[in-house]
Every structure is written in C-alpha cells, then in structure tokens.
Symmetry: C2
Subunit: 234 residues, 2 copies
DNA sequence: CCATCATTCAAACGTTTGTTTGAATCGCCT
DNA sequence: AGGCGATTCAAACAAACGTTTGAATGATGG
C-alpha cells in the first residue's frame, strides 16, 4: 500500500505550508513555487498529489472546515439533548458556534490560529472557488443553528433572524481573521488580543445582545435620543 | 493647462474600471491588461498616469475613502453641535458611521455599491498595501467615534469598548462586502438584500444592542440558562 | 534478483505578468 | 505656421506563473 520513500509526509508538508502562506499572503498572491520552496518539496509534487493549484486550496479548506463544523453541530446536539424540553439559551447556542473554533485555535494539529485567520478571510475573498466550497461546508450548520436560535428567540421574525445571523457571522469571521485588521484601528493597546478565550468572553455577550435587540421601527433608522437599554419590542 | 487629446478622461476611466474589477475579482487576480482592455485604454496609460499597479489601487481607495470618512466626521460634528451638553445616543453615533456609507451606495458618482463591497473586502485582504492605506485613512475616525461612544456608554470600560467597536466594524464591513457572502449561507431568500436602507434599519439596532450589552462575567463564558433580556450590569 | 509501482526530481513548456521604451499623435501658444 | 509639451500607442522586455514531461529513485512483492 504505502510506499514510503525517504520522506512520505510530502503531502502533509505541502498542505501545512500552503495553509500558512495563503493565510499571510492570500490565495492569488501565493505561487506554487513559494509553497514548494518553503516546504522543501519539488515543484511538481503539488500536481502529483493534488492535481492543480485550485484543488490544493480546496483540500486545505475541506480537511479543516469539515471537522470544525462537525464539532459545532455535535456541540449543539449535546446542548439540545441535555436540556430536554427547554430550548438552550442564546448564549449557549452562540458558544456552540464559537467554542469549537476556540478549540481549533488552541490545537496546532487542527490548524491553529493560522487556519482561523485564513477562514475569516475566505468569506470576503472573491473568486469562484470559495463560492463553491463555503456553501457546501456551511449549509448544514446554518440550518441547524438558525432553528436553535429561532427557539431561543421566539419574538424575532424569521427574516429578521436571518439578517442578525448574517451580522453575527460578520463579527465572528472578522474577529477570527482580525489579528491584522485589529491593529489597523486600535488606538490603544488591546490587552488580551493574543488570548482567544478573553476575546470570546467579550464577543459572546455582544452577539447575544445584538440577537436579542428590540425590533427596528417601521420607518426611522435611529431611535430617539433617550432610547435606552435593550427592551424587547415584541 | 489641460491639453485635451481625443479622450482626456483616460485617468478617470482607468480608476472606475479598476474599481469594478478589483471588487469582483480581487486585487492580485486582476491584471492591468484586464483593466486597460475593459476601459478601452492603452496598457501603458496606467503607468503614465499612476506609476505602478500598486499606486493605482492606492488611488482607487484614497479618492473614495477620504470623502467617506470626512462625511462621517462631519456628521458626528453636526450631531454633537446640535445636542449641546447631552451626549448623542448610541444609535445616533452608529448612524453617523453608517449613513455616509449609505449615501455612497446611492450615488454611483461617489463609487456606489462597487466601492463599498471593495472596501469591505479590503479589511480582510492581506498584503502590505492595505496595511498602509487603511490605518492612515481611519485613524481619525476611530478616535472621534470612540470618544463619542464612550460618552454615550458611560458604564462600559475603555478596553471593553475598544473590543466592541472592533466587533461593530466587523459586522459592518462584512455586511457591506457581503452581497456575495450573503448568498453563501442564506437558506431562505433574503428579501430587501438589494435595498441598503432596509439593511441599515436592521443593522443599527443590532449594533446598538451589542454595544450596550451587559458586561461579561469574570470567568464563565455563557450566561445562565435563564439569562434574559439586555439588563445593564454596571 | 528482477520487475513493479509510487514517488521524486530537474528541466522545459507556453502564457501571462508588471514594466519600459521610443516613436507617433494631438491641441495649444507665440 | 510651427514647435512645444502633454498624451497615446504598438511593441518589446525580463521575470514569474501554472502545468507538463520523461527520466531517476527506491522500497516492495513475486
């Protein structure tokens, strides 16, 4: 089966190196020669093992995103099994999305911070490739978590919930990708920027409050001057 | 002064075409030949008018982002002048960020939706260029709006507010860039996705509620099962 | 021990990339 | 008219790109 010439981890080293380079330079700006040089691998090896550059990035994503989203759904399953009858809270549902990502961050073998930053960028990256990979990988997650959030937020209409989930994924992917963008606008030193757990501890309440926000009025954009704390409208 | 050969709008046509192509294909994946061909302009014209490809994208951003952020600060100035003594509300401050972008969206001469989507992607795009352009263009905006939000949210500590602004910019830029990413995860048809005003009407309450969220506890991530509507903690 | 197969390797393939060049073109001012 | 300066243009540049090829390599199974 496995013929093992001097180094048989060629495949793995290509994937790991490509992951890092795609993260810090982007897909289009990363050449196969950069990857193979840094991985100390022959240029032709990438075509031998993957077939093309596009097939390579496809595999870089699928091997990470599959387990991550599976862990999210498993977390949600566990949550709904524990609390029989009663629906899990908004915070718990959000944590089921965020905690698996946090675990990936901690585990370099699962991709570590590199993959999370790459993933955060993938959503806003153009090109046909990502528009094929991401929907396939996320469809099930979106359906399941929207159901769970709908149960936790019975007062929020379907359309409104869809939008708020969209905003939530925005803040989430931006935060995951953001170690760079963060410093762009940071006037003061962000302490704890290197500690993902403290970021999560701040992000979850933010998102939960946003999801529970009072429903927007029919016409005007801004609430009155005195618009005060989140009081559910309906 | 202005010698006007048959077409003197060469510069402008390059900028407009580059804006559109960078938006839909990304910076690295857009070649000068694509731009000059679509703009019906000679290839060498871009080097004559701008000097290099990087200088071109730099100008694409600066001519749009400058006025946009200036309008945001002007909006905030007007807001603070009107309400003497009392601090503007969170919703009003958020609207000062969002409304000028909405106006850009409506006005094709100011860049239109193309530039907003390009801008939304710019934050998560790698490369040294963006890490030089964006901080310079946004520094003043961040400082001013953080001051305004701090006055509107006296209970939120400085560190916490910085993070929440980060989350806010995330949801905002993701939403602006998102007409593509939107369809990625949308299981049901998002009505109003083409109407920016209705998006804003949903986004502002979401962000305001997130900014006003109860402060996170010291240790645990998720609130209790019964964690209910936004009650300010401190 | 030789044949076999998966893997590695150096070299080259034809395109496309950003950039440069030098001559042609055109409106303006004296 | 005529020369000037700004602009356009076709052509070429070297470099880098993704991809392909065909021979070397080395462990495995008959």
């Amino acid at each position: 089966m496995n013929r093992k010439p001097p180094c048989a981890d060629t495949r793995e080293r290509i994937l790991a190196t490509a992951e890092g380079l795609f993260m810090e330079r982007g897909y289009a700006a990363t050449s196969l020669r950069m990857i193979t040089a840094k991985a100390r691998v022959n240029l032709a090896a990438v075509h031998y093992h993957f077939g093309s550059k596009e097939a390579l990035i496809r595999e870089v994503f699928e091997r990470r995103l599959g387990p991550l989203n599976a862990a999210r759904i498993a977390h949600l399953d566990r949550l709904e099994a524990q609390s029989r009858g009663r629906a899990p809270s908004v915070e718990q549902v959000i944590e089921a999305i965020v905690a698996p990502a946090l675990q990936v961050n901690r585990d370099p073998l699962a991709g570590g911070a590199d993959f999370l930053r790459l993933l955060g960028r993938a959503f806003s990256e153009p090109g046909q490739t990502m528009r094929e990979i991401l929907p396939a990988q996320y469809r099930q997650v979106v359906v399941r978590f929207k159901e769970a959030l709908a149960r936790a937020l019975p007062g929020v209409p379907d359309q409104e919930l869809t939008w708020r989930m969209h905003f939530m994924f925005g803040a989430l992917s931006y935060t995951m990708a953001g170690n760079d963008a963060l410093k762009l606008v940071a006037t003061c030193n962000l302490e704890g920027a290197d500690d993902p757990e403290s970021i999560i501890r701040r992000l979850v309440p933010f998102l939960a409050a946003g999801l529970r926000a009072p429903l927007p009025g029919r016409s005007e954009v801004a609430g009155g001057r005195g618009a005060m704390n989140g009081r559910k409208a309906a």
